[in-house]
């Protein structure tokens, strides 16, 4: 159910101005109303788009969320490719 809850948060942020407004000044209060995993919370708190993408967030909901955060859609491909490269290097170092 966790990814569903994460999707619910992103959907509510997009649909309800009051949720978006509250998120702007008190994210933790909003997080408490959803059952989110530690990984999901960490990704949200860090504005880690790559991690949210790897957690399986729906592309359209993630697109809306990142635009809410101030990102332009056109730059997201490069951001995610950079995130993937960092992960590949991290994996290579472990090996």
């Amino acid at each position: 159910m966790s990814l569903y809850e994460l999707h619910h948060l992103l959907y509510d942020l997009r649909r309800y101005p009051e949720v978006k407004e509250e998120y702007g000044h008190d994210r933790e209060a909003v997080y408490q109303r959803y059952t989110l995993s530690d990984d999901e919370l960490a990704a949200l708190r860090a504005d880690d788009i790559y991690r949210l993408h790897k957690l399986g967030v729906n592309a359209y909901l993630l697109a809306s969320y990142t635009q809410m955060l101030g990102f332009e859609l056109i730059e997201l491909g490069d951001i995610l490719r950079a995130g993937a490269e960092v992960e590949r290097q991290r994996q290579a170092q472990k090996e």
Binding site: Y11, N58, A59, L73, G77
Partner: protein, 274 residues
């Protein structure tokens, strides 16, 4: 008897709106010119009602319940606010009688779709409509196709829905001239490492089948092929529904195709009044 008088299909990407004033890029100039062609084509067809086939972008529906297919039966549709993308219109008129007739015909034919007495239109309508029908005064019957939350209806089933709609429209007792519009696609992959990859091969194959036939071959495009192409390529399903609904004698013409930064942007018209 209902008459399918005209048809067209077009992309509905927000980038179209964002580049509405872009004149220094020849690709966008061709797309803008393409919309002029689409608008003239629609006006020449003189439709009294538009069957508008598109995918809800997780506005009317959410993961709690997301139908494979939906049909609007309302007398008007509000606009879902998407910031600057949303025109300053109060609503768009709906053709409730035709919507309910098609809803019932669909059920009789075995399409157990969601019947919507209230719905909002999003950029699947509001990006193309200012180009096609700036007066936004032609009533619509919205047909929703799930293209965003897997599992999705199969391309084959989408084509069959189109065939069902086409047959039902031929039996509609009203005198309206009916326009078919499908929007979405073509290939794109959003918010991913692949964003920016446009599958021109698939896009051009879809357009070729629409223009040259056989249109039924669109039903054989696999879901796997679309997924491989991109997470948004599934919107080709909307074009496949339209393809199924077209009269047998309808002839397609590719108006424009451009591989843009994120999405394969395409426009096609169909002569149905033959």
């Amino acid at each position: 008897m209902g008459k399918i008088a005209t048809a067209l299909a077009t992309s509905h990407a927000p980038s179209i709106f964002a580049n509405r004033n872009t004149t220094d890029d020849p690709k966008w100039r061709r797309i803008h010119a393409g919309f002029d062609t689409l608008r003239r084509h629609l006006q020449a067809g003189q439709p009294d009602v538009l069957l508008w086939i598109w995918d809800d972008h997780i506005h009317n529906f959410f993961y709690n319940q997301f139908p494979a297919f939906g049909i609007g039966v309302a007398s008007y549709y509000k606009l879902y606010p998407e910031g600057a993308l949303t025109p300053p219109w109060e609503s768009i008129p709906g053709h409730a009688d035709l919507g309910m007739y098609l809803a019932e015909e669909g059920l009789r034919a075995g399409f157990d779709w969601t019947i919507m007495h209230e719905a909002a239109v999003d950029h699947g309508v509001t990006v193309p409509m200012p180009y096609l029908c700036p007066e936004h005064n032609i009533p619509i019957v919205p047909i929703f196709v799930n293209c965003l939350i897997p599992p999705l209806p199969t391309p084959k089933r989408c084509y069959e829905l189109g065939q069902c709609l086409g047959r039902a429209l031929q039996r509609w007792p009203g005198a309206e001239r009916i326009g078919l519009i499908a929007t979405g696609g073509l290939s794109h992959d959003l918010v991913s490492e692949k964003q920016g990859f446009v599958d021109e091969d698939l896009d051009r194959e879809v357009l070729r089948l629409l223009a040259e036939g056989p249109r039924a071959a669109l039903a054989e495009i696999s879901d796997e092929r679309m997924v491989q192409s991109g997470n948004g390529t599934a919107e080709i399903r909307n074009w496949i529904v339209l393809a199924g609904a077209l009269p047998e004698q309808a002839r397609g013409t590719i108006v424009a195709y451009e591989a843009m930064a994120i999405i394969g942007t395409a426009q096609t018209i169909f002569d149905c009044d033959i």
